[in-house]
Symmetry: C2
Subunit: 288 residues, 2 copies
């Protein structure tokens, strides 16, 4: 999906939030924000929101020499999610429908998104899980179950650190032997990298690749050949989070989008209400 004029206030909020992570020098902050506002004013607004975000963070990295200002928070989020993992594993195992229960937990983990919020607290996460386990899922779970049953190969597109710990529960339900997990190719926001997949205990359990690029989503034109090849040959793709949805909503493939609708622009594009927990098949008619 293209960025929208309505994305601009949120980009500016993200610029402020990010810039403060890159530096606490107020003179630098003001200069950086002025430059980024000029960049934003001149940017191509027809690209997807994650590609616009990529450009913002590339400039901040160039200006500061810092490669991963979200590292501390990613580690905190991983720790937080790991502290909840065994309880949730039990919850999924004891559920009458473990596959769907794991989907619900994986979507709950999608609130760990520092592109949309400035921080995530334990109480928020616990509440999100409780909510996710009770609320009906948007989309057609039957369609999802059928797709999972039929797929020999599944490409699982991770989204954020912390969230990826919960993804493990779903990957265990899917059967790790047929899953390839893809993470981002370089630090961007709090998006999951190889080290986060390792922390989730997924190394040695599934094949893990990085997608070769630093977009907080999956912009195929910028991904590595290896990733693109996997993408085009997988029987089924599970895409976590808004960033992946924003970059893949117009790609014709057997994709299920698992995400929480966190902003009005995505609500409009997906035709789903704000706050909804979605298990949305590309074939179910994502609006364009």
């Amino acid at each position: 999906m293209n960025s929208s004029l309505d994305c601009l206030p949120c980009f500016v909020r993200q610029i402020l939030d990010s810039m403060r992570r890159y530096s606490d020098d107020t003179a630098f902050q003001e200069t950086a924000v002025r430059e980024l506002l000029h960049d934003l004013a001149d940017a191509d607004w027809r690209v997807s929101p994650p590609v616009l975000a990529q450009n913002i963070h590339r400039r901040l990295r160039r200006q500061t020499g810092l490669s991963d200002p979200y590292l501390t928070q990613k580690r905190e989020h991983n720790e937080l999610a790991l502290s909840l993992l065994s309880g949730l594993w039990k919850e999924v195992d004891q559920s009458p429908d473990p596959l769907l229960c794991a989907v619900q937990v994986a979507i709950a983990g999608n609130i760990i998104d520092l592109g949309v919020k400035t921080n995530v607290r334990e109480v928020d996460l616990v509440q999100a899980i409780q909510y996710a386990l009770q609320e009906p899922l948007g989309g057609d779970p039957g369609l999802f179950r059928k797709a999972v049953a039929e797929a020999e190969t599944i490409l699982y597109l991770a989204d954020n650190a912390g969230e990826i710990i919960f993804d493990r529960l779903l990957i265990e339900q899917l059967g790790p032997e047929r899953v390839t997990l893809a993470v981002r190719g370089a630090p961007i926001l709090n998006d999951a990298l190889l080290e986060d997949a390792r922390l989730a205990g997924l190394e040695g359990r599934v094949r893990i690749i990085d997608n070769g690029c630093d977009v907080p989503g999956t912009d195929l034109s910028q991904c590595s050949d290896e990733f693109r090849s996997l993408f085009h040959t997988a029987d089924l793709i599970l895409s976590k989070g808004q960033g992946n949805f924003e970059t893949l909503s117009e790609i014709q493939a057997n994709i299920f989008f698992l995400f929480k609708v966190k902003c009005p622009v995505v609500a409009g594009t997906s035709g789903q209400p704000l706050g909804a927990h979605m298990l949305l098949a590309q074939s179910e008619g994502v609006q364009r």
Copy 2:
């Protein structure tokens, strides 16, 4: 108070909202937003938020030739408030403390603010009044009562259309003969002008002046000599709304600020919680 980096996302939201009122031509909208983002990037951020807003709207007026794109909504808000007036008049008259009840209603009217929200519905306004009549006021009502009892001349700084209808209830309690009501000098957002004061039935009841300028607040350096003279000689000044607070919070005068705290930046500056209904004396120590 100065603008803050944290004001920027809200300015961009306001730019989008305003620009759509000025024109529904999407090509114009995109061009205008790009130019306004450049302006914002180069602006002096040490001025108050209302002065930054003034510059945004001056450019939009120049670009479109439209002088008052909020006119229709101001009229709707006046009609809406007028439809509630007789019931509220009775409420104030029957209250054990009519002065404070009128203060509460006048502050409830402050939710009619299109600088902060895109629209105001009847249900929002009725709820705001019910809430305002129950919630304790921030500030010292005793200090206010004493100041009102002692003042021979009161300058009442109006804020928005619609809201000004409710201001009449407070002006009646203060005693119209000692009140001068000030409105903005030219259209800006949905701020009240002379015609709104007339609709509130205040013409002939109090002296009405305009402040001579198009800032959505009271920037004394831009106001007319007549207004400044009144400001400096009034025994007591009642200042309605965030815009007046943002421009006057550092001015030494016998001012009471009546407003709803609508944004985190004003919450920080005023030292008051978001959402609070304030009757705040300048002498009570507005943080700077």
